[in-house]
Amino acid sequence: MKSRIHPTPATPPGLNLNAGHAMNRREALRLGLLGTSGLCLSNMALAAADGPPAVPGAATPPIHARAKSVIQIFLWGGMSHIDTWDPKPDAGSDYMGEFRKAIPTNVDGIQLGELFPNLAKQADKYSLIRSMTHRNNGHETAAYLMQTGHAPGERLAYPSVGAVFSHFKSPGYKGLIPPYVVLTQPQGRFSEEGFLGPKMKPFATGGDPNAARFEVEGVVSRGIPDARQLARRELLVKMDTMGAAMAASPQLAASEEAKKLAYELILGQGRDVFDLTKEQPELRDRYGRHTFGQDCLAARRLVEAGVPYIVINYPGGWDTHSNHFNTMRRQCPQLDQGLAMLLQDLQDHGLLETTIVWCCGEFGRGPKVDWQPPWNGGRNHYGNVFSVLVAGGGFKGGHLVGASDKRAEEVQDRPVYPVDLLGSIYALSGIDTKARLPHPMGTEAFVLPAAVEGAKSGGLLTEIMS
């Protein structure tokens, strides 16, 4: 396959938040940017490049919103970028540590760290952002930035991207399963629902999809077979003395309605979505018989059920201050197997076109290995530059966005900020980033911060949107 690498992006004019930096087509041509890689630019970006200079608030380019579901694989704790998706074999062992090799992929010009042989065969399905940056090295604050796009420390606690999806997608969503599902444990770095309130909280499944029975909290319970479930439900109805006395109560009617929906999950079709034994054992093997692999399979089933936003919080996390290389040797192959199979399987089911998959931590890890005690060859928090994998739902595969410098320490090309990544995901999902969010005090709050609020932006990822 031909290389389709963008050393420099086409600045997406309509959404350029740094007004004045937009190049028009002539300037771009003069700088030679469109010379060899001109074909890479999307038609849309080209068309827009001749348009009037961008100003904040100008019309959004016509992005075709096709994503129906989003799977966010959150590598919480922060996965090292230099060991994985941004290898720098020439940087030497102080940087590369124990993983010296980079391996080729099925797309010319894209290389991965040696622990990702399966993803290397799928590079045409995803693109890698190698210039993600926010320069924040605290878990809570960086996670907040990456999941809300808003600067931490503002007076308002904004909802996470999943809660925003839940808010905008709930009205048209008729599924039995809540619209925002977390596999399996909530991350708890901040209150994901923000000021949207408890209704927008994610539904965390609990349980282990790799266990013999995936015991989804509240849906599939341990030791209560259906017969008993039905018997005690009937008992509950018979013993409802207050319900009999107050049949007309609107409060009780609302409560019964919510209970009915809950029972459709417990005893109806809803729980079947979580029943991974309905899949072929061979397919389950290919995902990998480990929690993350089966998380990915459960996520695909949730997408089939129409759930708009699914988060996989990576089991165990990636906060590898010490014992770094051993942890990477253990975890990367599982990430590689599960994620590669998820992309393949989504495509086999015809779902990749309408499903965004994005995968990253709240930051990367220091590209220079810390050999001193107590780290003894560990890597610490690093928000200056790190990598993100995006696929499906309108994101093209087989591209690189931006680049880090030769030691993966700073952004060299095309910085991508949280608002750019989240803004692109929202745009492909038909959510207007300038839309107002309801705030209990009537305070003005929007999905993403605007340029006037000082949010840094390098522009939407239009170069990898199809």
Binding site: E140, R155, L156, A157, P178, P186, G188, R189, F190, S191, F195, G197, P198, K199, K201, F203, G206, E215, E217, G218, V219, S221, R222, I224, R228, Q229, A231, R232, L235, L236, K238, M239, D240, T241, M242, G243, A244, A245, M246, A247, A248, S249, P250, Q251, L252, A254, S255, E257, A258, K259, L261, A262, Y263, L265, I266, P440, M441, G442, T443
Partner: protein, 624 residues
């Protein structure tokens, strides 16, 4: 049939719910231990065939028969002023209210006054107490003196006063604890409400030592207009969003001289009267800090003023002119203007106006709030939306409460007492005329789901379990003992997944609507089927003792009902539970005798299912 039901209702109201058992000979026997009064033999003789018929035919519990559990036979006579004023509105609507039963009352008043479920013993003792004339009054007095009273009302005030360490306001854990401690102590000592408000509005000093100064720190918008909005919401029960700008700015002037300065202790901050604006003067120092306020952007060299004295090169002389933007005049919310005296903290001027007995807003807000807290709905509804075009449903009633509060020197416990002792508070929960007018005039006690904290405490009390509460802010002040009840949590940042799921207040704005008790399916998944609840029940020593296999079924049922529902079971409920479990196939010998039905055997899990059904009943989950 109607006539028969009417008769059952009449007699059951007289004798209350008792236990009916089948004797060896198949006759129904009445166990009168549960009765407030011993029924006459004639009454029992009359009832036996009625209940026998009901149980034999398996007749579903009719609405009227079920209502007997919740209602008392006494006809409420409006003797107290509150009840006369309420009756004045209900009578024209053709509504004759009914009083709640003793069982309903003991549960309701515990949950409303101390946020804590009564124990089985407390419920049993109260229901069986023969002193029917005084027992409700005595119980109210006892509850108002309990420790949990202060815990529970500090929790309610914590919502209004926004006691939360972080998000959206950085109050900090140590300050949140100091704030809560002060509020709780004020409630425990029944601090007169005018002093309570005054201290919140006028205190100065360290956020770690002087609890009430945190009132000003726990506000998202700490500019004068933001503070004015918070003060209006808290103490006037009114939202300033619709006020004309002039009115809000006029009130904001009272809060334009508040200063905040750091100390050299981490996260400590002093709140003080700062008429000269020293805390906003660039380059002013504080211990351990380079500057209180950030230095101004460096001016171009050729424009540097040379008037600064050489001895204090960085600090300009402090004069009133240093704060030229400070307004000199302020406007009270009632429209009257005042020139701010230079020698008096304007917060003091405002507080003096606020707590004058002539100020109708002040007493109205708290009277209406307290009424809404206890009766589930304000006389002005919502209780924090007082404005001319949102009139009270019963103005005379509200005026009466205000006058009672003022003439009793802002003694809040007096207000609790007269409300709780009123027939109105003790109305039946059964709403017979479901019209908006009936609801707005308190024809019945409205159903409300227990608050998140109250519900988890009740579940833990019944099962003997505990919950883990944590704060995302790693400081020693957030250490929580294992058996801590949720109602006593001092800080909104200390939480659990349960509290978040069941709509505890986010304490961001202080608005009543921040607490959300509306039912959602995820809550039902949790209650009906989560491992958390199932584990609490399966591992419960309390339930194990009650369900001991050596005990007789009626005794187990009675104890479960008293522990969970705070009442005795009805004969119908005993029959329903009796039939639940494994049907024992008839023994070959007995099979010859077709008259003998197959018996039902209960295993431990069947009893657990019974307890599960009680915990998931609306009667348990809802205040009624």
């Amino acid at each position: 049939m109607m006539k028969e039901l009417e008769e059952i209702r009449r007699i059951r109201r007289i004798i209350g719910a008792g236990i009916w058992e089948k004797s060896g000979s198949g006759l129904l026997l009445f166990r009168p231990g549960a009765l407030p009064v011993t029924p006459s033999r004639m009454q029992i003789a009359y009832l036996i065939p009625v209940f026998a018929a009901l149980m034999a035919t398996g007749t579903a519990l009719g609405t009227e028969a079920a209502a007997c559990v919740f209602e008392s036979a006494d006809t409420p006579v409006p003797v107290q002023p509150i009840d006369q004023l309420v009756a004045a509105n209900l009578t024209p609507l053709g509504i004759q209210p009914v009083l709640c039963s003793d069982a309903v009352f003991v549960r309701r008043v515990h949950l409303d006054v101390i946020g804590t479920l009564p124990t089985a013993k407390e419920a049993r003792d109260f229901i069986q107490d023969p002193d029917r004339a005084n027992k409700r009054r005595i119980l109210i007095d006892r509850l108002l003196a309990r420790d949990e009273f202060a815990d529970f009302w500090a929790m309610r005030w914590g919502d209004v006063l926004r006691i939360k360490a972080e998000f959206p306001v950085n109050l900090w854990p140590n300050a949140a604890q100091a704030y809560h401690r002060w509020v709780r102590a004020a409630i425990a000592s029944n601090k007169p409400y005018d002093r309570f408000a005054r201290e919140l509005l006028t205190s100065s000093g360290s956020n770690f030592r002087i609890g009430p100064v945190n009132f000003y720190r726990a506000i998202q918008n700490r500019k004068p207009d933001g503070i004015a909005a918070a003060v209006a919401l808290t103490f006037l029960g009114t939202r300033t969003d619709t006020w004309p700008a002039e009115r809000l700015n006029g009130m904001a002037a009272f809060f334009s001289q508040i200063g905040y300065k750091p100390t050299n202790e981490w996260k400590e901050e002093h709140v003080f009267w700062d008429p000269l604006g020293t805390s906003t003067t660039a380059n002013n120092t504080a211990p351990g800090r380079a500057a209180i306020a950030p230095p101004p952007p460096a001016p171009a060299p050729n424009t540097t003023p040379s008037t600064t004295p050489a001895t204090t090169p960085n600090i300009p002389p402090i004069t009133p002119a240093a704060a030229p933007d400070r307004p000199r005049c302020a406007i009270f919310p009632d429209g009257s203007k005042i020139e701010l005296p230079p020698d008096r903290d304007p917060r003091d001027v405002f507080a003096a106006w606020l707590i004058t007995p002539d100020n109708p807003w002040f007493a109205r807000n708290i009277s209406n709030r307290l009424w809404a807290w206890l009766l589930g709905r304000g006389i002005i509804h919502e209780p924090d939306d007082i404005r001319p075009d949102n009139p009270p449903s019963n103005p005379a009633l509200l005026t009466y409460l205000e006058r009672e509060l003022v003439t009793n020197r802002y003694d809040l416990q007096h207000l609790y007492r007269i409300i709780l002792n009123s027939r109105t508070y003790q109305h039946s929960p059964v709403l017979r005329v479901p019209t908006p007018a009936a609801v707005a005039n308190f024809a019945s006690y409205p159903l409300r789901r227990m608050d998140a904290e109250v519900l988890i405490d009740a579940l833990n009390k019944i099962t003997g379990a505990t919950d883990l509460y944590t704060s995302a802010i790693p400081e020693p002040f957030t250490y929580i003992p294992a058996d801590q009840p949720a109602i006593a949590l001092p800080d909104g940042s200390i939480t659990s997944p349960f509290l978040a799921l069941f709509g505890r207040s986010a304490r961001a704005t202080g608005m009543v609507s921040e607490r959300d008790n509306k039912p959602i399916p995820a809550q039902w998944l949790y209650l009906l089927n989560s491992s958390h609840i199932q584990r609490k029940m399966e591992q419960s020593a309390n339930l194990k003792t009650i369900m001991d296999p050596s005990r007789k079924a009626p005794a187990i049922i009675e104890d479960l009902y008293l522990a969970i529902m705070s009442r005795f079971p009805t004969p119908e409920e005993v029959a329903t539970i009796g039939a639940y479990g494994q049907v024992q196939p008839a023994k070959p010998a007995a099979a010859a005798n077709p008259a003998k039905p197959a018996s039902v055997v209960k295993r431990r899990e069947d009893w657990l299912d019974v307890a599960w059904a009680l915990l998931n009943s609306s009667e348990f989950l809802y205040l009624h």
